[in-house]
Symmetry: C2
Subunit: 825 residues, 2 copies
Amino acid sequence: MYGRYTQDLGVYAKEEAARLRESSQRRSLSDRSRSLDLLEYKGRCAKCQICTVRCQKFLISRVGEDWIFLILLGLVMALVSWGMDYCIAICLEAHKWMYGGLDSNVLLQYLAWVTYPVVLITFSAGFTQILAPQAVGSGIPEMKTILRGVVLKEYLTFKTFVAKVIGLTCALGSGMPLGKEGPFVHVASLCAALLCKFMSLFGGIYENESRNIEMLAAACAVGVGCCFAAPIGGVLFSIEVTSTFFAVRNYWRGFFAATFSAFIFRVLAVWNRDEETITALFKTRFRLDFPFDLQELPAFAVIGIASGFGGALFVYLNRLIVQFIRTQKTINRFLMKKRLLYPVLVTLIISTLTFPPGFGQFMAGKLTQKESLVTLLDNRTWAKQGIAEEFDYIGHSQAWKHPQVNVFVTLVLFIVMKFWMSALATTLPVPCGAFMPVFVIGAAFGRLVGESMAAWFPDGINTDGTIYPIVPGGYAVVGAAALAGAVTHTVSTAVIVFELTGQISHILPVMIAVILANAVAQSLQPSLYDSIIRIKKLPYLPELGWGHHEKYNIRVEDIMVRDVRYITLNCTYRDLHNVLLSGNLKTLALVETAESMILLGSIEHAQLQSLLSQQLGRSRRLEYIREQAAAEKKRLSMVSNTGSEEDSHRVSQEVRFQVRAHALEETPDPTIIFIYCNWTKASEIPETDVFVVFNFQITEWEEKQLDEQVNFNNCKIDPAPFQLVERTSLHKTHTIFSLLGLDHAYVTSIGRLIGVVSLKELRKAIEGSVTVKGVKVRPPLASFRDSGTSSSESEATELHKLWDRNKNMSLPREQTPSESDEKSQ
Amino acid sequence: MYGRYTQDLGVYAKEEAARLRESSQRRSLSDRSRSLDLLEYKGRCAKCQICTVRCQKFLISRVGEDWIFLILLGLVMALVSWGMDYCIAICLEAHKWMYGGLDSNVLLQYLAWVTYPVVLITFSAGFTQILAPQAVGSGIPEMKTILRGVVLKEYLTFKTFVAKVIGLTCALGSGMPLGKEGPFVHVASLCAALLCKFMSLFGGIYENESRNIEMLAAACAVGVGCCFAAPIGGVLFSIEVTSTFFAVRNYWRGFFAATFSAFIFRVLAVWNRDEETITALFKTRFRLDFPFDLQELPAFAVIGIASGFGGALFVYLNRLIVQFIRTQKTINRFLMKKRLLYPVLVTLIISTLTFPPGFGQFMAGKLTQKESLVTLLDNRTWAKQGIAEEFDYIGHSQAWKHPQVNVFVTLVLFIVMKFWMSALATTLPVPCGAFMPVFVIGAAFGRLVGESMAAWFPDGINTDGTIYPIVPGGYAVVGAAALAGAVTHTVSTAVIVFELTGQISHILPVMIAVILANAVAQSLQPSLYDSIIRIKKLPYLPELGWGHHEKYNIRVEDIMVRDVRYITLNCTYRDLHNVLLSGNLKTLALVETAESMILLGSIEHAQLQSLLSQQLGRSRRLEYIREQAAAEKKRLSMVSNTGSEEDSHRVSQEVRFQVRAHALEETPDPTIIFIYCNWTKASEIPETDVFVVFNFQITEWEEKQLDEQVNFNNCKIDPAPFQLVERTSLHKTHTIFSLLGLDHAYVTSIGRLIGVVSLKELRKAIEGSVTVKGVKVRPPLASFRDSGTSSSESEATELHKLWDRNKNMSLPREQTPSESDEKSQ
């Protein structure tokens, strides 16, 4: 919305007005037809009819209300989420059943264990590749870009929706370490976009773009909310991940939709007899009275800091893998040929390593992600007195027990293996997220620390008499939140964790660990989503770091491009042509005159192109040619009427071009007309096709056309592009760019255009001073400022210039009255 | 920050630059002095010294970091919060002790019960009145206004801090139904502002205004966070209550500081041996496995809806009381005379009604707020099988039991009485909030519904065999969150409730109830804070309602003021004078010429005033008079030199004024000079005081001065005031105004100024179409649009006008060369 605001507000406002007018006409038409219907059925029970029509009208007017839309969105997403979960559960069940049924033969078992995910992942990759390649990956980076106001093509279509939902179900059903959170944000946004389109059949309000953006923001919250049944965490996570500035006005929308969605999602589980009542997804049962001792806090802080490093490493690893595959030309070429080879290979490696009778036995390989998480959050201690064997394993926890190695080794192996596996798996070209795998790894790490603590202090730390043994499950909760927070650079994972586990007793450890993890990770690497944005080269604006003072000291004048391309109000088409040839900026500044440089507005590149093509385009060429031909014909007929046969013959000797009508239709560029020429006699020229011009005549005409002044009458001008002043600080510029989702802003000084700042310059300036190595580069011009003249002086000089201009402007005008005469022609 | 951005960015940028330059100079000076010190001490262990200096430098540079500031802020606030809680607890204890010790005589007991709060409240009211009247009330409305960019005087000073802390402690210690949340937001902001000032002694970064606003936003979160030990809820609540647009960049600041603060606040309780470990403030012990049945959800929804109405009623009642007191002139006059009478009266009424042996016995009058809340959130059922007597009351729960009436009557009485008491008490002129009283009332209402449900379904609702009795405490939690949410229009009370109780098991009921309560309350009344903002007439921007389509259909052109006051670049001082006289706008538009109307920038009113006073001010008058006098003297001396005694005599006969020097010093307005005149002879005029002008001469001079062109050289111009176009929708305008905290925006059409929209117009437009009665007024001009010309046409005409102007502009210029000549003088 804001991106559009400055870029083409004028256009947009007009379009919107036209739409509204149209829809109101349409509505009044339909009203009229309805009342006609009413008259027709007058014979019947008229009262009943009137009532029905009123109800219908009322319903249709109500459909425009936000809450109806949000309820529908929540409902649809809950159903999608539940349906997908159901399918995924069946897929995983089938995998287990196949593997379990073949326990007589290890080789067959291995084949079953490996083939199943390979087939599913290959299908998923192939399906999305064919139907909608946009569905690949998480979707959060794209949504962040879209919510910034950038239009990404094909990202919100029905095709993508189908590809994403089916692809994701298959990918998750394969049992690979992939998550559904990121894709769900995308799916929810798709749902919202499609629902908007559908609802716009009823009322015009759904065609409003700024409203759609608001709804997309709510949809992101719904996505996370119904994925984890975590409405609050969902809203917060989606805000942190997708927005830079958030309208509190939209807050309730997210909460409303996410709550409704989470409610329906959980109610479905109750109705399906999976659960007795609505509770958390991964319910924990830690003791309430004494969740942790104060002296355990250092351990939680250690988890936080370690998770910070781990999260940064994960992002780095993920990027490294993508870049390695891209830069290794031989690999790349090979993979490009056989597109499905990469997913097959990766799946093969990962599933081989997790094969339960093989290496998988040392890393609880046979557990699905959900099962691992449930066991990791268990409130019992696995390693009592350091001897793992004493623990009475039940259910899935059995998988963590191994006769030869103790539980610590299993946990360490699990963490290390899953770490690189997840980083690798998230690079697969299937719809997939990284949140859940990271969450599980974090939980395992937390459990490891917790078990170590429990082994170290078998009777707990508390010295006040009562024995409160250490709860390693609490550590797992803390670890999960911390690592997930570090990878995504969010604090709201803490809230998600509380909602997932249904317990908030560990709030302080979780908050401390998450904040520490964020502090460490943010200073080392961008978030996973920002990393993907950079890899995919989507437009972005880097965040300002933590407390970098330089931001307040760099000014727009240090980073702006002074050589602005502009057009003047009285420019000729030739100037326009030259400006358009010289670059491919999206918008051009319109100034009053080259001397005054007073900024009047900005015009889109496309608008100017159309202006130019109107002036020099085929229709005008044809018209000119036709006119010329008519004049020629007139002359000819004059000649033939008055002159003798010789005269007529002489005329037919003249070199003339006739262009066939069909040739004209085919050639897009009028200059090519002259290739399709035929010699012909003047007398043979029919009334309809008349193109009698010499080549040099056309050139002359073109030159004349180019020298004419541009007529901006039919051109859409944005009269208020965003303006900054030279002294605006980088910090403020960043704020304004991210607030309004700007792409560029003009720098003016008392109305005069003096420069332009685009996202690129801003990005450079920020990244130049926040380099990874810690060296803070100062922009070259910043140093000049300190010793420079005072700003009020410089402003005064600016004003003087303007002054002089005002005085002088009348002089050249007086000297060139021809110019103004030309204009009035 | 944003408010300032458009209003005086130029000024601000300059100030900032100057500040930075100054501070860097200062720093380099101090560095130099430090290195001088170093040289001096060279004789001693140089290495050690260097190390110390480096450490010092490092520390000072680190002090500028955000996190140090945030930790300090959190620490200070936790200490303040804990200290206040401690004092309040002692006060309440003393009250109880006095009351308990006098149980032999009811009259004495009554006197003790009543006098104590009256004295405390009177002291609190008097103290704040004398020290800092700004400390009165909640503080959240003011913080909302300040965060919008409006500068409120004296709101963030040390005096206010002292008044607020001491006043609040006394007010809460009196046992009146008042809360500490709102004032704590103010106290935290005060802390942050003072800390900023203190820290600015170390580094220049603390003088940056935009940073200070960021820190204030974090401080609001800390305020709520350390008040309830609810870091997440605190951050969210403060965002909802104070911001319209929130920078996600600032998010971590709030979380970091609030978490640290909450942590320290709870750690202090542990160290003080109040608690064994860090847990929630109002810990609940509801069962985890089956918190509620799905079929109980309608009851929760009912609580939500009823709370919505209740919340709206509370806000209405509160406003009614304030307005009643204000409008009733006799009461008002009486109260104004005896300022402390109102608090005394109110306290007397409330404490009389809660007197435990009197009416208080029917409404648990002897419980403090905290005790009531603890008992209300109890996980046991009070009314088993509808007979209250069977319940085994222990501890404070005893207070709810009455031999004659059952627990339902007690609860109803409690709710009704506390409702109006809280609404009344929050109008007292002491530092106080309304959150906690409302929270308690909500909890009581929830408990009432819960007890009714428990009486209705003694064996619970679940039909699956196992008996899960209904938990009325859960209803109390839901009711508390819902009513608090309804009064404050926030959803985050849900999160606060979870953090307060330490249990998240009722997340879905709470969310549903809070959202419903918000939906109902928001459609009936503004939030309590917005209501106070309106009562106090602070600048505000109403929120757009839920899904009002008209917002998308109203355009800026419908609401803008077309008669903009402006000044032109070549205007005379007379024009300036007239413009300044005609109104009291804060800023004026600067356009190129009255014909072109091209907007060049905006100038502050004060700037223009100073320009005018420079031109016509005393110093220039004096200078002129001095010049005149000198000329006169010269003439006189010429005359006396050349002429005879008669000539000299004739000259002395001339009427002259001499103004004494001291009279000049005293009179602020130079026109009054002429009152202090003396007849004097020319020969008697000394060199130093020379004021020899006729009155008509001065007037002539004034006229001449006024006809001169304004010299804008020393005037600070904001070169990029915010601009809108006529077709910008109301919705978008609202967004931009609240995003950037604008006060006004110019409406331009291709650079030409055509109107202005200020907060007032916007407010009118929004409130006009969202009237309480449900009648949606359409702005008078909106109807014209539908039948009007297409926008592209109108734009074209605009452009034509500009065109014509460009052509015609040279003509008048040519005809009036004198004007430009004048300019060059």
